[in-house]
Each structure stands twice: as C-alpha cells, then as structure tokens.
C-alpha cells in the first residue's frame, strides 16, 4: 500500500467545494488551515452540469446540491493544474468517468499533478437522462474494483476510493482495497433527496434531486467511517457535516485520519472560511493536549472493547 502524503494539518476541502486551483491558492494565502486541497471531480470531456437552481439549504430543508459533475475537459484541467502555485498544501485530484477506461484515462492525465488520486465512486447527481456514478458503478463491488484496478495501473500515487453512503459500502470497500486502493473516502453525499416548493408546486432543483450534505449527513458518514475502520484499519478520509472541532474529533475517534470540510464553508468569505479552518484545527490540537493525533485515530473502537486512553 502506498501511504497517503503527509497532509498537515489533516484538513482538506471536500471535492466539489471550492473546486478550482486559483481558489485553493486564495485560501492558502488567506491562511486557511488546510493541509490539502481536492479538485472538483475531473471528467474526460467537457460537461456543463445541471442548470440552476443547483442548491437548496435550510430553511428549505437539508442542504441539497445537484451540480452533476460539471467539468472542463481533462486537457483544460491539465493547463489549469500546470499553473497551480500551492506553497505547502498537497493537491488531491478527484477523478470520474462513465466507465473504468474513462476513469483510467483521466487518472493518467492527472497523476503527475497530484499527491493523491481520489476516485469518485459515489456521486448521486446526474443531468437529465444520465445515470449517476452511484447507480452505475458505486453500488457495484465488481465494477468499483474494475475502476480501482485500472486507476491503479495509471498512477504511482496513493489512490483513495471515495464511497457512496447509499451502497453496501463495506462490500464495495473490500473489493476496492483488494483491487489496489490505498485509502477510503467516507464518503460522498447521501440520497439524493428532494425539495419541493409548495407555492409554485415545483421541485426546486433543476436536476430534481440532489445529494444531501451538511449536518444531516454527519451521523451517516460517521457510521461509515467507524465501520470501515473496524474492518480495514486503513487510512480514511472522512467527509460529512464537519462544522466544528468536535465534529472533526468524532470522526477521528471513529477512525478518520484526514477530515474534509464542505458545506460548513457556506456563505463564508475566504477570510471567514480560513478562520473556521483555524478554529477547527486549534480545537483538535487543544483536545489532543500534546498527544499525537495517531494516538486517538479509531479510539472509539478501543473504548468499545473496554480499553484505550480515552475509554
């Protein structure tokens, strides 16, 4: 297994959030405590994604998005990533495709720019007439393994298999680990869900349904993190409703070694978002009180077994 790069601090943005290299450099210059940045998912060819509205948030209900993987072509992404000037943070490139060959093609183009490749197996959004990745690949252990195997063949960088909470994710994770994944991403957005406007009697999102993120997702992906760590004891990049240092610590205790922040950046300027990342990291450090983070990764399992320093 190839170890994950040292992501220090172990906080990153979630894929599809912030998205572009120039936004990452703006965050880095604003003093964001993010040790790595994840691109939005890069696909093989240009795709506009859904029309607006693409997002719904409280008080309409839970946070839903239906961007449906807009992407410029992989060639245009190469030009963009050649320009990126991150000083210290690592770059993780998220990749997707319609089948394993497309995943491999994109990985081949992106590998040289990246410190790790995140394989998007679980996006629950689609443009009208498409199938989602979650439906076509992410729920199927054999097809997911085929994707990971081909991606593995195209890169010597660590490969993170990002799972859908709407799958038999332990079975999918097992086949991905056997196919050469180095880490698990726990996980993508949930659902998709639906939001309806009662006055116009219309579905709000132009794509009708959208993946659920934010606080509603946290207990689901926390459980996924916990179960995946119990089974595989592998590095886990966790996502889902991390808004405070307490949320982050819960995920670490469940088994995460890297924490992804997404919806918590909603309505925050770059300086406010950077301040949030600092608060989260400072909170984690205070909680650790001098202990290395590695000492508490998965500690919730040890306490369940009746041992461990935080039992």
């Amino acid at each position: 297994m190839i170890p994950l790069p040292r992501i220090d601090p172990p906080l990153i943005n979630a894929s599809g959030i912030l998205s572009y290299p120039e936004v990452f450099t703006a965050f880095e210059s604003a003093g964001a405590c993010l040790g790595g940045y994840v691109t939005k998912s890069v696909g093989p060819r240009e795709k506009p994604g859904n029309d607006n509205p693409v997002v719904v948030y409280p008080p309409d209900g839970a946070v839903l998005n239906s961007l449906a993987l807009p992407t410029q072509s992989a060639e245009d992404w190469e030009r963009d990533l050649e320009e990126i000037k991150l000083k210290k943070a690592k770059l993780i490139v998220s990749v997707y495709g319609g089948d394993s060959l497309e995943f491999a093609e994109v990985t081949g183009r992106m590998s040289r720019f990246s410190d790790a490749i995140e394989v998007n197996l679980g996006c629950p959004n689609k443009e009208p007439g498409e199938q989602t990745i979650m439906e076509s690949i992410g729920q199927n252990p054999a097809l997911s393994a085929e994707v990971i195997e081909r991606v593995r063949g195209e890169t010597d960088k660590p490969v993170i298999a990002k799972l859908s909470p709407n799958s038999d994710y332990l079975a999918v994770a097992e086949s991905c680990m056997n196919a050469g994944a180095d880490a698990l991403g726990c996980g993508n957005t949930l659902g998709p869900g639906l939001a309806v406007d009662i006055r116009s009697r219309a579905a709000i999102l132009a794509g009708t349904t959208g993946g659920i993120s934010g606080p509603a997702l946290k207990p689901v992906n926390l459980r996924m993190t916990y179960e995946a760590y119990a089974r595989f004891r592998c590095p886990i990049v966790a996502y889902g409703g991390i808004e405070t240092w307490e949320d982050a610590v819960e995920y670490i205790l469940a088994g995460a070694s890297v924490l992804g922040i997404g919806t918590a950046f909603m309505r925050k300027s770059t300086h406010e978002a950077a301040a949030l990342t600092r608060e989260i990291w400072e909170g984690i450090q205070e909680y650790l009180d001098g202990e290395p983070m590695s000492a508490i990764i998965g500690a919730a399992h040890r306490s369940a077994e009746g041992g461990g320093s935080h039992a």
């Binding site: 959030i17 939005k40 509205p53 998005n65 961007l67 950046f265 309505r267």
Partner: protein, 241 residues
C-alpha cells in the same frame, strides 16, 4: 431564505429592459444580490433596483421570461447574498448599460451622489430623470443621442470623494487605472451556480464573487489577473471576456 412572491407590476424601462415589482420589500445592503428563481425555468443573480424590484435586460431565454412576467405571476427570491458597498461619501456612481440599475439603491443610500453613465443609446441610460434630481449626471452614449458621444471612460476622471463602478467588465477594466484605488469599488459579475461560496464556479482570480464580492475594493481588483480578461463558463472552461 428562498421565498416565492407575486409580481405586482411590470414596468417597461426601454425596448430591452423591464423592472419587475413584487409584493415584498427586501432589506439588503446596496450591492448585495438576490438569486431570482423562476420555478421550472432557472435561477440567476440580480441586484435589486428597488427594495421590491429587479431590473432585467433581455439577453436570453431566462431574462426574456423574467422580463415578460405579468402581475399575479410568481417570482422566487433567495438572498440577499454577498458583500455590498460600504457607506460611501459623495460618491461618483459610474454605470454602464444595465449595470446602472444596481446603482439606484446605492444612490438613494448615499449623500450627495453624482453620476457618470454610459450606454449604446439614450434608451440604455436607466433612471436618468430620477438621478438628475439626486445630483449631477454626466452621460456618454455610443451613438451620441444623449450627452457625450463615445464611451463612459472618456468622461473620467471626475471629482468625487469615492467611486462605485458597475457595468460590463471591459468597461470597468478601462476605468480601473483612472480611479483612486483606495476609494473605489467595483461590482464583479460571474456565472454563478450555488451563489453561497460552495462550488467555486464564480471565481475571479480565486476570490469567490458570490461570497467575497460581488463588490470588491479597487485595490483588490487591481491584484486580480483574471479581471477584465477571463472567467469560467458553466463547465468550468475558461472563456475570454
């Protein structure tokens, strides 16, 4: 956050421009924006021209539909969003085309405003009579139908304590070197998707226009290599401005 209102009036401002009034007054800071939602048709950013209205120029399917709304029709609004203008003293409000609409609420909130307005023809100089009651108005039209024949930038510099510029980006880029960086604000426009800082779509040199802007101080704008040059299209692919 998102509410659906009834249209109460559709006021034709010119051949291409309409002001759509609805049955609610939105409290916003001048320069902040609303995502205007037409159920089943789409959602786009607009700045209020009145607390209860947006002014729209017909430029595509969505804006054609918006400009055609009749009393009783529904209009959805999400916002106000983003950072508006700080309070401005004796500002010169510099507007081009439909960007002039955004300056109306700022003018009403400012002491002793003056105006520098440009358009292709006299029809595009929105709120001309109303602005003349608030302060001096300098106009440039490309066809010479009203005021100076030529571009609005040819009227600069003008004397004022502060400056706010809202118009086509190439016009704003031409204004940038002619105005004092420490007292000038620009309203930047980009294709927006989420409009709440999540997706990164509306980046201008890494600043998310929806949450860091849309109003930016000139000193920041001067550091943005993309300003006046390029923006990301719906897929994320760069396009030239």
């Amino acid at each position: 956050m998102r509410s659906v209102f009834k249209v109460v009036e559709n006021r034709r401002e010119s051949e291409w421009t309409h002001t759509i009034f609805f049955d609610a007054e939105i409290e916003s800071q001048p320069g902040q924006f609303m995502m205007v939602w037409l159920p089943r048709l789409g959602e786009k950013p607009f700045t209020l021209s009145y607390p209860n209205a947006v002014t729209v120029k017909k430029a595509g399917a969505f804006t054609e539909n918006l400009a055609a709304l009749a009393p009783g029709d529904e209009i959805g609004l999400r916002g106000p969003l983003g950072q508006g203008y700080p309070p401005l003293k004796k500002p010169a409000l510099i507007g081009g085309g439909v960007g002039i609409a955004e300056l109306r609420l700022l003018a009403l909130a400012s002491e002793e405003p003056s105006f520098v307005l440009g358009g292709r023809t006299a029809d595009e100089i929105l709120f001309y009579e109303e602005f003349r009651e608030l302060g001096p108005v300098h106009v440039a039209t490309e066809d010479g139908a009203l005021g100076h024949k030529g571009l609005v930038t040819e009227l600069l510099p003008v004397e004022a304590d502060s400056y706010a510029v809202c118009g086509p980006e190439r016009m704003m880029a031409a204004c940038l070197p002619k105005l004092p960086a420490e007292r000038t604000y620009f309203a930047i426009e980009r294709y927006m998707k989420c409009a709440v800082g999540l997706c990164g779509q509306c980046t201008c040199s890494g600043w998310r226009v929806c949450t860091d802007g849309p109003i930016f101080p000139a000193a920041a704008v001067a550091q943005m290599d993309d300003f006046g040059k390029r923006r990301r299209s719906k897929s994320g692919k760069w396009e030239t401005i």
